[in-house]
Amino acid sequence: MSGVLVVMEQRGGNWNRMSFEALAAGQQLAAKLGVECSAVVMGEAVGSLASELGSKKLAKIITVEHALLKTYTSDAYVAALEQVAKQASPAYVIFPHTYQVRDFAPALATRFHSVLISDVIAMHDGPVFVRQLLQGKLNADYRQTGAGPCFVSIQAGTFRADAVEAGTSAIEAFAPSLDAAQIRNKPGELFRESAQTVDLSAAPAIVSVGRGIGEQENIALVEELAKALGAELAASRPICDNGWLPMERQVGSSGQTVAPKLYLAVGISGAIQHLVGMKGSKTVIAINKDENAPIFEVADYGVVGDLFEVVPALTKAVLAAKG
């Protein structure tokens, strides 16, 4: 068992861009360990995607093509990757931490009596894999102790896609043995709920509200601040889950990804699922009563205090400044 194998994700011939961040992670891990890095790409026909990888520094690109891999199902993906991993025998299998990976990678790891180290935000010598606990309040170092392989998924934005090393690579086809009878789920087409009417990604300033607001009627406080600033109003997931603001105003991994000039976070603790949606913002200001809230890790300016006092004062000051 040796080497690093990166599982690339594609849908309908288009890459999930997080795959290249995982590829960069895989290359860096392989370099550290002094072993080879390879990549695997699966689907019905993945020839052109595989040749795109030909210019990357990889020992080999394994193509896994089968009609039953055209549309994603956990059953087909687990069966195919189990066969690939048994033949290639990697010591490390690296995934991008996508919704699809969350759906099948834990089952794949189980087949090898292993456990996926999921949602990794850093790698250190050892190798030690760092992930967050308690919605980002703490970090934790994880290590493989079983026989392996070691399965790891990489959180968005942890590695840079443009850090993927160029080089040459050879394509190797792997023919999986799959049977339609193995596939128990029938997936339907992807759809969106309704046309999105709010495009937060274009907003230069966003005021975003989280769980700290407490009650639905308090949202008006934050809405007034957003209005005073001429900013869009956004929210973290719990606010939209409660139906206090529409889902289309949600920022984070299941909502929109934004990078405004100003992101003002009010009563948002800063779970990783929220941070991945806003950490590209130019300036982040956070108001939170908990000085240890993870939002302060990405904030340029922080206020530890009661939002019910600070927000009205700020609205008043903004309106006064605007004259």
Partner: protein, 253 residues
């Protein structure tokens, strides 16, 4: 339909956590515990499915004696029975180990459907459900917003990235991991709390822990990614300082 719901007891969300002296976990002495929020949504989905289609809802939780309070709460909300898998060494079991003791307790119940939250608020590995399905040899679907019973199986609505969704049809028995926000959570009524006292909680012993495949070596406060300038003072003073930054540095005023 017989529905099993796997729930976890976790520290309350706004708990002040401190790293334990051995640096391997948090100090548990002053913590208050509650049901893992995604698991509360899984329970709610189970109760609504029962109300629509009939059947039974059984809640299952692994952990020390203290988790029985979370099971009692679930009974008060409307679950019919509870199974407590007694284990004082949860920290030495990895995801596979935990999924194994849950699957062991569930197997003899022969459920039609198993529900659980998509991830836990404490460890957040997001895998126990999928691993249980694999151990039990039943199909699964993850990050589910809505569940509908069809004649022979289920039609579920799965959440994907960036506001996309997908319907998936699947046979029973099956396992689903439930996303938060699909339903509105109910509170336990006084009547429910009273009734819960007469409901059955079965206690089973967890099998001895086996060697884990992964280990948590160390927990610690995260390092800051940015240098944060903290603004202090009275609310008015803080507001004035923010306005200054907004005017001269961020330039949005």
């Amino acid at each position: 339909m017989k529905i099993l719901v796997a729930i976890k007891q976790v520290p309350e969300r706004d708990a002040q956590v401190h790293v334990a002296s051995d640096g391997k976990w948090i100090d548990e002495s002053d913590l208050n515990y509650t049901i893992n929020e995604p698991d509360a949504y899984a329970l709610e989905e189970a109760l609504q499915l029962k109300e629509k289609n009939g059947g039974e809802v059984v809640v299952v939780c692994a952990g020390p004696e203290r988790v029985t309070s979370t099971l009692r709460e679930a009974l008060a909300k409307g679950a019919d029975r509870a199974i407590h898998i007694e284990a004082d060494d949860m920290g030495s079991r990895d995801t596979l180990g935990v999924a194994q003791i849950l699957a062991d307790a569930m197997k003899s119940e022969s459920p039609d459907l198993i529900l659980t939250g998509l991830q836990s608020d404490d460890l957040g590995l997001g895998q126990t459900g999928v691993v249980m399905a694999e151990l039990l040899g039943i199909p699964h679907a993850t990050i589910i917003m809505h569940v509908e019973a069809t004649g022979s199986g289920l039609k579920v609505k799965r959440e994907l990235e960036d506001g996309w969704f997908q319907h998936v049809e699947m046979p029973l028995p099956a396992l689903l991991t439930i996303q938060s926000g699909g339903n509105k959570l109910r509170y336990a009524t006084l009547m429910g709390i009273k009734k819960a006292k007469t409901k059955e909680t079965k206690t089973v012993q967890a099998a001895a822990a086996t060697a884990p495949a992964i280990a948590l070596d160390r927990v610690y406060l995260p390092e800051k990614q940015k240098k944060t300038e903290m603004l202090t003072g009275t609310p008015d003073q803080v507001a004035a300082k923010i306005v200054e930054k907004l005017k001269f540095e961020v330039r949005v005023i």
